[in-house]
Symmetry: C2
Subunit: 612 residues, 2 copies
């Protein structure tokens, strides 16, 4: 079997070669990272992925986390991995120099995440979660909290988490009821607490589905937790953000138990190398949390985080689909079975990549995973521009508009893409002798965590499309027109340009139609088919991304002195672009028809009609 | 959680209520089974499913088969289950009275299979495989073979299998190389062998992926095995069918080891309750096989079997999707989360079935599973008509045409349907606390076993569509027009009738276009997009089936004295039909566009373009 899990050539091509309204990734936006230094960083990440993360890909799945006392036992490779990621500076990479970080721009971080997650998705999330939690502390935490918690977290010794979900509050976060009671007195045992003027808050509640919410690969776990301060307003406006450690350091730096009980480890379909746990807080009335930022601002802080987390989910799905594709590619190139229909009798079986249907399946996987990668890096570029110049309101709107797509397209299509990888293997794909069945299982979480597809769809249609009177969609259209104008200079791309223009026209018509529904029938009807709208919108956006790549190929092909493998890469890339336009883009026709003609029938079906 | 895994009302409605060119299932075609006696049979099957198969659904998955010596240890419930299925006559049901069977017609057997498989797919395959193998022995085996093997098989004491696949011959059966050498002398040990004039054949070879290929829930395993008699012509024309037992009965009826070695048990993504094994034959030159029927006719015998086996695979997929739907339905009716967008502030969370997107997901699952059930029962009806009157050539053609659809539509769409069931649960769906993740895993085999989707697609487009100058498609069109004509009398169905007619027009245009491709570019080009054609064809066929159901509802609604739950059932059924026409049927537009405009690009992509 192959141990190839991603293509470095495709990654750097996608990051650096494309044009568009906004400049391609340039050192200016990449904090002085050049293609050359980037290359070194990516190679180092790949090396780590190959040597540390990838070898335990299957083992971590076969030996999932186990509850042992009040701790979760994980694969023994997790601790040295996190130490290495800490020592080598990967966890601190996005942080400023003060924290021994490198101000790594978002685009490059997403690429590094892509490499690690393709090597071993479950292994990659540990450090990713710590980075996310650390970023929240950096952005909103007090200096004392930063000084106490960031160093061990960035060193890979303490785990960071995001603790949002509760048994009765998943999608509906406004219903969460973990409580924080201000606490002024002395703590039992008499330790003086740091980081909070008045002893902090006593936390009471229950959290579930907390990724890396506890494990023995670290010495402490630091939860960035949403809770409601006693007396806070109901709903989302009364939610605050707290830092709740598993062990709290006392004045002398000793770690004191903070009354965080691990209630369960969830047994999951996939993504088994990472522990997802349930937590009970304050059973002994001795769980202290420290307010991060201001009271009642918790959700908005978390959402600053969440937008990037959604890109990371999309990237995780993209990575898994990519790794599965490389397995399928290697297999179909070596597995011999059958012949061409027109082959002479008695000829030997051929490698199955020679069969058109197998090639279709490979093209489909590339169309999905490489298209998704391009979109997420496009979003990363907007993030980097905004990081340099937060006043770029247009970039902000585009990022807001595209985030639900960048989260959902890879996640939804990734299910089909990894399923197609299995299909390339035939019966062997269904067996755990090959890793594709694991990729299929690892993939399935992504349409759920960090906001389900239904939530992303309501976000896109209900919030993002209506922002500033629809300016975001207007801007996207501008971006796409820019691409179409410049791609249109290449005669071989005019077919794609026309198809995309036609598709944009259909989308505008659909959007107008939905606007009328909103006016005539109200918001419930407007949003009834939001998931289909997101699907249609996603296909169009990915088609645009494929056009940017096709154009980049035509530019690159004119360079002199191309090596043979570059020539083949560019040729293949154009085939995949063509595949997307011929096989994927036409799907919007049916979706447009449904969005036009559904009469929002899902609203009309009474619930009791489902009984029989 | 619910322990409901299927709807009896929907099953009998689908079997008995529909019209069409051929008569609905009537006692005439059902060997005198009336709706009333059928009802009793189904209730008995349901009872068995609920009490015996369903309770071990999760246990069998969590404790998969293990190799122990030269035997495979399976769940301890398998043996008593098979004994009960034998004693109560389920395994013999399809056999004639001579074998204490009931001449159970195909439609009803498919329904019984539906009930058992919905209760526990893995558990249901054991008896199903024995029935299939037994049917082969009945059709083609000598009287001695029948008398020796059928009684213990039909009693559930011996397992039957179909042993086709080899390590280098899966899809490409013509390449199989298990060898059978005629054997005239005395056997080692001196037993005189029964059932064959000249001692039988010595078998040498290796088989893989043999379902229920060995287990300790029975006393013997009887393989119906494809092999090549020494000196036979190459390819599919040199394949013969053999009966190869694990233990062969000697003259005294003692069971003698027959040199069949279990080499491995495959570890699978799902479908874990049933052992899929590898076998080595003749390691000690002491594996005897008995020719079944004539030399070199093996593949045609097996395919007589295989067509029905493909319907059974489609039915298995339908069952799993149905069971997953019922889990999702129960959950969404009780799980409270979120509110309507227009709900007043402070109102309590509602059951999530109240959210349009959740209803859409439930409607989708019903649209798939109930549509698939209807199609498979339509095929069962053709089988029953043919069983009574093999001269009904039109029925034969229709059955041939629809079999690849009846196998593939439920299997491909079932992946999406069970995935949607997971989505209804949110994060809980990804955990093994609920059974939907298992249904998702159990489902994934169906696009692979008994011929992959790619093979079904080539069968449909390459073989079935071209039979007798396309007469099968002509007949199908007639069937559909009959339905449209009678459904058109109901004003509320005219929209559906028009959509279906339009869709048929698109299909005809597409088919003509492909005919031109065949003439201009040859068979490789004609078949390049066969999978897409099968997808398009499948959606149209299922739309037709939904129209038959919608019409049946309108007829039934006119009856007097309907109970409230009947009224609700009919109302719900119409909603699902409308859903199919609004949300699923439009997908053919994109498919038609691709089939028209793809230029068979998958043929043109060189294999080395996939390297980078």
């Amino acid at each position: 079997m192959t141990d190839k899990f991603m293509s470095m050539k495709n990654l750097t091509f996608t990051l650096f070669s494309r044009g568009g309204k906004y400049p391609v990734a340039t050192p200016d936006y990449l904090n002085d990272h050049t293609p050359k230094t980037t290359d070194m960083v990516f190679k180092a990440a790949f090396d780590l992925g190959k040597k540390v993360l990838h070898p335990m890909f299957e083992e971590m799945d076969r030996n999932p986390p186990q509850l042992a006392g009040n701790s979760v036992h994980v694969h023994e490779g997790v601790r040295p991995m996190l130490e290495t990621l800490g020592e080598d500076g990967w966890i601190a990479a996005l942080f400023p120099e003060k924290w021994e970080g490198e101000n790594m721009p978002s685009s490059l971080l997403l690429c590094i995440n892509f490499i690690f997650a393709a090597a071993n998705y479950s292994a990659s999330v540990y450090a990713g979660l710590t980075m996310g939690a650390g970023k929240l502390i950096l952005s909103f935490g007090s200096e004392t909290l930063q000084n106490t918690y960031l160093p061990p977290m960035l060193a890979g010794k303490w785990q960071g988490t995001m603790a949002l979900t509760e048994p009765a509050a998943g999608t509906s976060l406004g219903d969460l009821c973990t409580e924080a009671i201000p606490f002024d007195g002395q703590l039992e045992g008499g330790q003086s607490e740091i980081g909070q003027p008045a002893g902090g808050y006593k936390i009471f509640g229950e959290k579930i589905f907390i990724s890396a919410g506890d494990h023995d690969g670290v010495d402490n776990v630091v939860h960035l937790m949403l809770a409601r301060i006693k007396g806070a307003p109901p709903g989302v406006k009364g939610i605050s953000l707290f830092l709740v450690p598993k062990f709290r350091p006392d004045a002398k730096g000793n770690l004191v138990d903070n009354d965080v009980i691990v209630t369960q480890v969830f047994h999951k379909l996939g993504y088994r190398g990472a522990p997802i746990v349930g937590l009970r807080l304050g059973e002994k009335e001795n769980c202290i949390g420290y307010l991060v930022g201001k009271e009642h601002q918790g959700l908005s802080y978390m959402f600053q985080m969440m937008n990037n987390a959604r890109l990371e989910v999309g990237m995780g799905a993209t990575s898994i689909a990519t790794a599965a594709y490389h397995c399928a590619l290697a297999y179909t190139r070596t597995r011999c079975q059958g012949r061409k229909i027109t082959a002479p009798k008695g000829s030997a079986p051929i490698p199955i990549i020679g069969h058109p249907d197998v090639r279709r399946m490979l093209l489909f996987q590339r169309a999905v995973s490489e298209g998704a990668l391009a979109l997420i890096l496009q979003c990363g570029m907007y993030e980097d521009i905004l990081a340099k110049d937060p006043g770029q309101a247009d970039c902000h709107l585009l990022l807001e508009l595209l985030t639900p797509v960048a989260k959902t397209y890879p996640s939804e299509m990734g299910i089909l893409s990894t399923s197609t990888a299995i299909q390339c293997f035939g019966g062997y794909g269904y067996c755990d002798d090959f890793p594709v069945e694991q990729h299929f299982r690892d993939m399935r979480i992504h349409t759920i965590h960090e906001g389900t597809t239904g939530i992303q769809a309501m976000d896109l249609l209900g919030r993002k499309l209506t922002m500033e009177n629809g300016r975001a969609l207007f801007l996207l259209k501008q971006e796409m027109e820019e691409t179409m104008a410049s791609a249109g200079h290449h005669p071989s791309l005019t077919g794609m340009v026309q198809s995309l223009a036609k598709g944009m026209g259909m989308l505008e018509k659909t959007t107008l139609g939905l606007g009328n529904v909103a006016m005539e029938k109200g918001p419930d009807a407007y949003l009834a088919d939001a998931s289909l709208f997101l699907e249609m919108f996603g296909i169009l956006v990915i088609a645009w991304q494929w056009l940017t790549m096709a154009e980049a190929v035509l530019v690159a092909q004119k360079k002199e002195g191309l090596k043979k493998k570059d020539t083949l890469f560019y040729k293949g890339k154009l085939h995949v672009a063509q595949y997307f336009f011929s096989y994927e883009l036409p799907k919007i026709q049916g979706l447009a028809r449904t969005l036009e003609g559904s009469d929002q029938m899902t609203l009309a079906v009474p619930g009791d009609c489902f009984t029989d």
